[in-house]
Amino acid sequence: MLTLLVLTPLLGAVVVSLVPARRRELHLPLGMALSVAPLGLAGAMFFSFDAGEASFQMVEKVVWWEPWGVSWQLGVDGISLGMVALTAILFPLSLAVSDSISHRRKAFVVAMLFLETGLIGTFLALDLLLFFVFFEVILVPMYLIIGVWGGKRRVYAAVKFFIYTAFGSALLLAAIIALAVMHASQTPDGLLSFDYLALLTLDISPTAQMWLFGAFALAFAIKVPLFPFHTWLPDAHVEAPTAGSVLLAGVLLKLGTYGLLRFNLTLFPEATVSLVPVLAVLAVVGIIYGAVVAIVQPDLKKLVAYSSVSHLGFVVLGIFALTSAGLQGAVIQNVNHGLTTGALFLLVGMLYDRRHTKQISDFGGLATPAPLMAGFFLFMAFASIGLPGLNGFVGEFLVLVGSFPSLPGLTVVAAFGVVLAAIYMLWAYQRVFTGPLEGAENRKLADLSAKETAVLAPLAALVLLLGLYPGILLERTAPSVEAILDRIEQHTDYEAPEPGRLADVFNTASEDES
């Protein structure tokens, strides 16, 4: 089933490419219809997933090239489950709002479906070379989506995006090959292997772990993006068309956090434990820095882009807190951020389609002509601020409460991010949607159409569902998260802090100071 899930979008891309270019009215609806198929498959996968099971499920393996130990191997566990579902949800919605793509529409739809295959493949791949292929394949359609269908400085943004991430990938590939070579040197038959499960059994010296961890982490940190590797992101977002931004923020960034969680923590446990301070500090700097910078952005899309830097900082903090609550928070926050920020980018896009500007100062009082749009924006803004009852809170709260026992000082600093989030989001809402309505174009602004409402409503429903009953996801992720933590505890002398021992917190706090 997983192979089918990966390949149906690709198949869809082929189908769309067979439609003649002049039948342009067909491309988008067809693409949307075809992207519903992977959504159905992802739904089936989600609900047939065994929540009690920690290891990979629905594993499919076809050996590709024996001498190199490469195989087409897919599997899903609690870490990837939510991300695949999120990806499958966001694609039909993004295609639905792409009416404003006027030239080369067919190529656009093909690129989108191609991108979907790449993304789902990356999350499901259990072979590192396969993972890398998918990870790289994504760059091409995304490069095109920004560079062809983007805004004024699209070429600059696209090239920056491509080179920056490709630079990270080069190191990643080297490290992956190093792992395969190590496998050859450590197994009696001397065979290379890229099989993730096989590589988990490797015995890697602490020094090598540090180097390999560094290579993996740099590639993923650029993707997240972790401060200070984030500056490609605002440019890419501002120039990307709406669908591109939704997927970039909703899914592509998560490849970074997913990679850290999936590979860095499990393959290099010792390096993980010793490098916690570095990554946790960068994460917390990102939380505060992204939020502070977001406050004064004059461009609404850039504001949301910087808010992503802040929110993903929470994910990385949760990962390197190395507690089960922190890791669970990171996994669910990955999904949450995709839903809320995806929705916010959709809304900014809808605003842009109407007004052809994203400058906050061009708007004002829009809640009067467009109450529905204002309502959705405020709802998603509060989800993003972390209002309890909506999904954003669940992720951030798990991350904060989960990180506190292991990283008390940093967590307190990170918690201040929730104050800053309220400032930048509500100030933006205030300037765009409230106050007196001025300017003819603002006055005659159309409210959301039925289709736009239909695109946003499912996201709002999910935001509420995950906010009130996150168990639907948490119960499926918890066993896999525990397994990662167990693995780290087995391979190192690290012990996850037990809740219920405040004295420990005070002790570690004083150690931090000394």
Binding site: L387, V401, G500
Partner: protein, 633 residues
């Protein structure tokens, strides 16, 4: 006798929540006044259910109970669970009781507003949120209610969002509250770290075993930080006066009777923790006393009818803080309740006046309204006497108990008692001043204003609240400690602060407090029951000080120049200098460097794929070789 299981109490939350959802989708279709009727019915039904469920506590047979609704985030011990004990029962009754009256009042007040139904969506949602807060049996669920009331406050303050001042005030309220929430979040982290759960039953029962003194103090202080934000205490009170931008029923319900008391409730609820943290309690008491005095002085200088009441609310909340800080949790909750009655009454009365004056709020333009609006005049008069602390009205009993406890604590608390006493004098002053300026003397109405009594839907709640303001204090008098007895199960094992026993000391203290009130009231009456020139002369006699009070000590300006402006400059530096200049500059610099280097080694770019492959392979091998040697794998 119906015996409601605790499990069924989710209904109390679900009724207004359902009303809110229904109105959200069908409100415009229902239209005025049906949308309002539906909201009132939902609120009254919640009151009914709560009243039935509270009966066992009145008869003394009820036992506190806690029941799980569903697991929320098991990894951090967060779940939706309801606690039903006398404290939550009392809070629920106050919220739904006063809330229902304000719903009814709003039928008249919001009449004709184009967003009539929307208003009731928010009002019902607020009620549901506040009930979530008081019924929560888990700190995480408490935080849900805590933030949702903040959301409703935001939505209702900026209800007339086309006014820039309303939109700004809503945002300010939420952001300032968030600063307090930052402390609250830290408290939750500390609690989970100490107990491994956030459930009340798991925390309070084991508090004395698990917590060291310093841990309890830290948790107490962090909880207090949250409470200071929500209950508008120094230094975070600045959002509340601006919150008066909202429609007046909102000010009465959220910013006087219920939401702002949440901080007091949380401290009372966390009594088992504060009991282990005398330093945190002392800090709470000190903040309360200081705020009470501070805000009362500002209230004296206000000429906007609602701003007087706003500062008065801050001041009265200070009394409640003083009480719970002095471990007199029952006295604090008692004052919370009586204050809900008389302050809701005063705000609704003010709303009635504003309504009659065609939206005007400046007391200098009022005067002589007693004849035009007799019901408002009489009921508001009762509210004024109640808050000023004259016996036998509600405010007298609760305020007197607080001052009695504080005095009895001795030491440092004697100073706080004195502050409370001075505040009592000032309270009587600014309330009588308001009453005289609005209702007595000669009309100073602007052209075209023809005041009239408000419709029945608005005066009916006034009358009910007036009755409650008269009788509400009798539930807990030194002669019959009914409320204390009622709340006993909620404070089992907690040592409660009490006034000194003995009729003489009680009488002397009461006489002193009432005497202060009489002095304040008399001063205000003689100063303001005169022509405007005379009371302007009276104010001028205070010199600059009166100006400070008028301007609220310019605290908003000070925050603006000391915090907001530098913060914004910092953000601008970070965004435009650091991020674009340094961080992104470095990235582009590297890119330029590479390009420059590329020009030098251009010959290598032969276009032969094989050659690239060779270089790539060689590089990789070199890297691997180095890794293997260095890593020793």
């Amino acid at each position: 006798m119906i015996d409601l299981p605790t499990e069924a109490l989710w209904l109390v939350i679900a009724l207004p929540l359902g009303g809110s959802l229904l109105l959200h989708f069908a409100g415009r279709w229902l239209g005025e006044p049906r949308a309002g009727y539906l909201a009132c019915a939902a609120s009254l039904a919640a009151f009914g259910v709560a009243a039935v469920a509270a009966v066992p506590f009145l008869t003394g047979e009820g036992q506190p109970s806690q029941s799980l609704l569903w697991e929320w985030m098991p990894a951090v011990g967060a779940s939706f669970e309801i606690v039903w004990d006398p404290l939550s029962a009392l809070m629920t009754l106050v919220v739904t009781g006063v809330g229902s009256l304000i719903h009814i009042y709003s039928l008249g007040y919001m009449h004709g507003d184009p967003r009539f139904a929307r208003f009731f969506v928010y009002l019902n949602l607020f009620t549901a949120s506040m009930l979530t807060l008081v019924l929560a049996g888990n700190f995480a669920m408490l935080f849900v209610g805590w933030e949702l009331v903040g959301l409703c406050s935001y939505l209702l303050i900026s209800f007339w969002f086309t006014r820039p001042s309303a939109a700004a005030a809503g945002k300010k309220a939420f952001v300032v509250n968030r600063i307090g929430d930052f402390g609250f979040l830290i408290a939750l982290m500390l609690i989970f770290s100490s107990f491994g759960t956030l459930s009340y039953s798991g925390v309070f029962d084991r508090a004395s075993e698990e917590l060291t003194g310093s841990a309890a103090t830290l948790i107490g202080l962090m909880l207090a930080a949250g409470a200071i934000g929500k209950s508008a205490q120094i230094p975070l009170y600045v959002w509340l006066p601006d919150a008066m931008e909202g429609p007046t029923p909102v000010s009465a319900l959220i910013h006087a009777a219920t939401m702002v008391t949440a901080g007091v409730y949380v401290i009372a609820r966390s009594a088992p923790i504060f009991e282990l943290a005398p330093a945190a309690s002392g800090a709470v008491a000190a903040v309360g006393a200081l705020t009470a005095l501070w805000a009362a002085t500002i209230a004296m200088g206000q000429s906007d009818i609602k701003r007087v009441l706003a500062y008065s609310t801050i001041s009265q909340l200070g009394y409640m803080f003083l009480a719970v800080g002095a471990t007199a949790y029952v006295a604090g909750v008692f004052h919370l309740m009586t204050h809900a009655f008389f302050k809701a009454l005063l705000f609704l009365g003010a709303g009635s006046v504003i309504h009659a004056m065609g939206g005007r709020q400046d007391m200098e333009e009022m005067g002589g309204l007693r004849k035009a609006m007799p019901v408002t005049f009489l009921t508001m008069g009762i509210g004024v006497v109640a808050i000023a602390g004259f016996p036998p009205l509600a405010g007298f009993w609760s305020k007197d108990e607080i001052l009695g406890v504080v005095f009895n604590q001795g030491g440092f608390f004697t100073l706080l008692w004195l502050v409370g006493l001075i505040t009592a004098l000032l309270t009587a002053f600014y309330m009588i001043r308001q009453f005289v300026l609005v209702f007595l003397g000669w009309p100073r109405w602007p052209e075209g204003v023809v005041p009239h009594e408000s419709p029945r839907s608005m005066t009916f709640p006034l009358v009910v609240l007036a009755v409650l303001s008269v009788l509400g204090g009798l539930v807990n008098t030194p002669f019959r400690l009914g409320l204390e007895h009622f709340l006993e199960p909620s404070f089992e094992g907690v040592k409660l602060g009490h006034p000194a026993d003995g009729v003489v000391s009680i009488l002397v203290l009461a006489a002193v407090a009432v005497g202060a009130g009489v002095v304040g009231a008399a001063m205000a009456f003689f100063a303001y029951h005169r022509p405007p020139e005379a009371w302007r002369r009276f104010q001028a006699a205070f010199g600059k000080v009166w100006g400070w009070w008028e301007d609220g000590y310019r605290v908003d300006d000070i925050y603006g120049t000391m915090l907001v402006a530098p913060g914004r400059r910092l953000a601008e530096q970070a965004a435009f200098k650091l991020d674009l200049g340094v961080v992104d500059g470095a990235v582009n610099g590297v890119a330029r460097l590479v390009r420059a280097a590329g020009t030098m080694i251009r010959p290598a770019q032969s276009g032969l794929i094989r050659q690239y492959g060779l270089w790539f392979g060689l590089g990789l091998v070199a890297l691997l070789a180095w890794l293997l040697v260095r890593g020793g794998v």
